[in-house]
Amino acid sequence: MTTDIEEKAKPGRPKGRNAYGESTVPLRIPKSKVTQITGYLKHYALKNRPGSIDFYEHIRQVSAPEVSVELPLYSSKVSAGFPSPCDDHIAKRLNIHDYLVDQEDATFLVTVTGLSMRDAGLLPKDVVVVDRSKNANIGNIILAVVNGEFTIKQLTLGKNGHPVLLPANPDFKAIEIKDGMDFEIWGVVTGSIRKYA
């Protein structure tokens, strides 16, 4: 039974205006249970906020059996036995990413189209690894932008000191970079990948 203690008007919070929206009574609780019970009350208050619905009740009545779905999840078992003599010699398995990529944050992948670099071993659908952190040297295969178009070619220097982009296929012409052309070295090609099956 609860008794209304706050009958008369007195200072403090008006009646029923606490966190629970109903009158409250003092209660003695065991010291060891303070955390649980205050936690429960905090949650109870939250649940009774205007606009919120007692989903707690709802879910318990209507769909409690569905809440806990039993799933066959196996976590790995540890078997006790003789410690493996190899344990002290475990090395990381080789990883292709590590082989091809030096500076991960400056590395981009590009799909090859066309046959202009055929004799350098780059075929259509190959993926080349482009590292922007490397400075391009004469002789490097580079990804360049010429007049807004991407192209993969070998970087060389012409007689007049202008860059010349050399294809690796006699059917294609070299691109000489002249004044006024929009030219940018986007990155250095540092590797290539081909998948057969």
Partner: protein, 425 residues
């Protein structure tokens, strides 16, 4: 002297697009928000055309000649990858870093001895440009608030070549710069506060720096006093190397097409709830309650309806299954047939950290069950991280999702999809 640098990418989204599509260079490029609605990033050329941030694209597009402005949908996967690259590169330059937003980071340069920090800033700028193709500006000063202002100067004043170091400026040269900046450029001073400060005769950053801190603290708040201290080189805002977990997580989206059926609404709410739950797990928090809202377009010439409902969870949770179940229960309560819905959203509220999770006294979800849920969700997240988002999802999310947002002008996933890499002959 303490030194903090703010590194900020210029026109971040538009710049990202230009890196992978060089034809966009020097063109007027705008990036549109979700559903191709508003302009959220502009190239310099687009700014010169007078296109404003946040302007609705459908209202503006007819004033330009075809091809004069290139509008692209947001390609968040591309921007997130570019952002991670920039943040990782910055780590080479300082051990102490705060990622402030997708395109901004503070780094500490204190204790670098008598290194020329302006030159160091130039190194940072050059490295990020070379490695990622993204232009950045660097502002260096003794506090975060001043570093923000220094960055503003680095952006707006060509004489600094993208790096502005307030610490290298003697007071007689610094003060005129501060006198030329209006107070609403100061971090933390919005338009309302600046209007009020104007009434006190405080118009420029220098006015504020030299204002009487005690008087303003009494008139306004301790926040203003802190800003004044920061402007005077006394650091009050520390570098937050680990972002504090969010108290609330929202996942809301407009639909690409009008939605009328409850099935479509439930599919979209499942997706949004899954995303929000994933975010909560990523920051190791649990929601105490969940809110869902659905609404029709307030602008359409159709009857308007909007409803929302908050439900407290039996015990704090970040389990996608429980949250989706709750969210769908709400959708069923809110849904009214006969309306054309345009938007829905899910909010996870009152998030608490793992360790502060309060188990329910009476509800029959045992701690063992909680441990199982944690494990299952970890597996779900690991699989989706490895094989791409939505690899593993709840069936109620649906498979076709015709209501998904419009992204008609999205660029390829140059760095995230094998079939969409840059192509070069």
């Amino acid at each position: 002297m303490t030194a903090i640098a703010l590194i900020d990418c210029n026109n971040f989204y538009a710049s990202c697009e230009t890196v992978f599509n060089p034809k966009l260079k020097d063109k007027a490029v705008v990036i549109l928000s979700n559903n191709d609605g508003c302009c959220v990033s502009r190239s310099d050329a687009a700014k010169r055309l007078g296109i404003k941030m946040g302007a609705p694209w459908f209202q503006m597009k007819d004033q330009f000649k075809p091809g004069e402005v290139i509008a692209l949908s947001s390609n968040y996967a591309l921007y997130a990858d570019a952002s991670n690259r920039v943040m990782n590169i910055l780590r080479q330059f300082s051990p102490d870093q705060e990622t402030y937003s997708v395109d901004e980071a503070f780094i500490s340069m204190s204790g670098f001895g008598n290194k020329d920090l302006t030159r160091y800033g130039q190194d940072i700028k050059a490295t990020i440009l070379q490695w990622t193709g993204l232009p950045v500006c660097v502002g260096i000063a003794s506090t975060k608030t001043l570093a923000k202002l220094a960055n503003h100067c680095a952006k707006k004043r060509p004489e600094y070549a993208g790096v502005c170091n307030f610490n290298a400026l003697p007071i007689p040269s610094l003060n005129p710069i501060l006198a030329s900046l209006p107070i609403n450029e100061v971090w933390g001073i919005g338009s309302r506060l600046s209007a009020k400060l104007n009434q006190f005769g405080i118009h420029t950053v220098l006015d504020l720096k030299q204002a009487h801190s005690r008087t303003l603290r009494d008139k306004f708040s301790v926040v203003v006093a802190k800003i004044i201290a920061e402007l005077n080189g006394i650091a009050c805002i520390n570098l937050e190397q680990v972002a504090p977990p969010k108290q609330n997580i929202a996942s809301t989206r407009s639909f690409g097409i009008p939605v009328t059926s409850i099935e479509s609404l439930m599919e979209s709410v499942t997706l949004y709830t899954s995303r929000a739950a994933e975010k909560a797990r990523a920051q190791h928090t649990h929601a105490n309650s969940i809110s869902v809202f659905i609404q029709t377009s307030p602008f359409a010439q159709l009857p308007y309806y909007g409803g929302s409902l908050t439900v407290a969870l039996p015990s704090p949770s970040n389990d996608t299954r429980l949250l989706v179940k709750t969210a769908l229960w709400i959708v069923k309560r809110l849904y009214k047939p006969g309306y054309v819905y345009q938007k829905a959203g899910v909010l996870l509220n009152d998030l608490v950290p793992d360790e502060g999770r309060q188990a329910d006294l009476f509800f029959d979800v045992s701690e063992a069950n909680h441990a199982q849920s944690t494990k299952l969700m970890a597996v779900l997240d690991a699989i989706n991280q490895r094989y791409g988002r939505h690899t593993l999802k709840l069936g109620s999310e649906g498979f076709k999702a015709p209501w998904k947002m419009k992204q008609n002008f999205k660029s390829p996933g140059y760095t995230t999809n094998w079939d969409e890499l840059i192509r070069a002959s």
